[in-house]
């Protein structure tokens, strides 16, 4: 039982919001775009710390955009979800739905 619990992915509220945004869009997103899309749920000061943790957990991957020879400066970072991230989000959604609807996915036992 403990091993099973250890393997279960954990998602925070902000992480869920980020994964929802990334999964709803087919392409990649910048950090600042996510802040703008979240409508104040994600703060500018913490977004990159959270994205870093999510990358460590394997929910998202990031890459630096190609440097434009005409534009000098620091290239931005683009993020997209991984398969694990999409699965974790789907599991979180179904768990939330089941909890809210009272259907725990169990047909027998627990009365």
């Amino acid at each position: 039982m403990n091993d099973m619990l250890k393997r279960l992915p954990t998602l925070g509220r902000t992480e869920t919001a980020i994964l929802e945004m990334l999964c709803s869009r087919s392409g990649e997103l910048y950090g600042l775009e996510m802040v703008a899309m979240s409508g104040g749920r994600i703060k500018r000061g913490t977004i990159y710390v959270i994205l870093n943790r999510m990358e460590d957990k394997g929910y998202i991957v990031s890459r630096q955009e190609e440097a434009n020879p005409k534009e000098r400066g620091i290239p931005k970072r683009l993020y997209k979800p991984t398969g694990l991230g999409e699965r974790a989000l789907a599991a979180w959604h179904s768990a939330t739905q089941a909890f809210n609807g009272g259907d725990y996915g169990l047909t027998t036992g627990f009365h």
């Binding site: 910048y30 950090g31 600042l32 703060k43 500018r44 000061g45 913490t46 990159y48 710390v49 994205l51 870093n52 943790r53 990358e55 990031s62 630096q64 400066g73 620091i74 290239p75 931005k76 970072r77």
Partner: protein
Amino acid sequence: MDSLRAFIEWLEQIIKAHGLHRDVWRVTIMGKLMQLMLRQSGWRRATRRRATRPPCSRLYSFFRFVCSRKQFKRVYEPKFADMRSEYFDAIQSQHTWKARWVIMRTRLELLMTVLVSLGLSVIDKAIKIWKIGG
């Protein structure tokens, strides 16, 4: 213009009386007067435009030196990239006050990022130690 000429002649008389070289003083005074008139008409020296370092470049170097490569690339560098793009957009649209505000806000956000990052790493370490102990 006549009054100006009269003023210069009066100055020349004073200079002559004190035994100073006439031409040197004339050039200097005329130069100063021309400068004053041009400044009044809104003229600025071309030499005032100069190349400067991008904003927060010292902070950028500091974080690159202090943080690990992975941490810097993932957490701090995108922050600076966002700040610079916003800053230069504001400068391009001639919103100087907005550009200054972007710099101020970025400094505060960096402080917040450092605090959150440190807090989370301390919690992670504590959990690891607790798991080893348990």
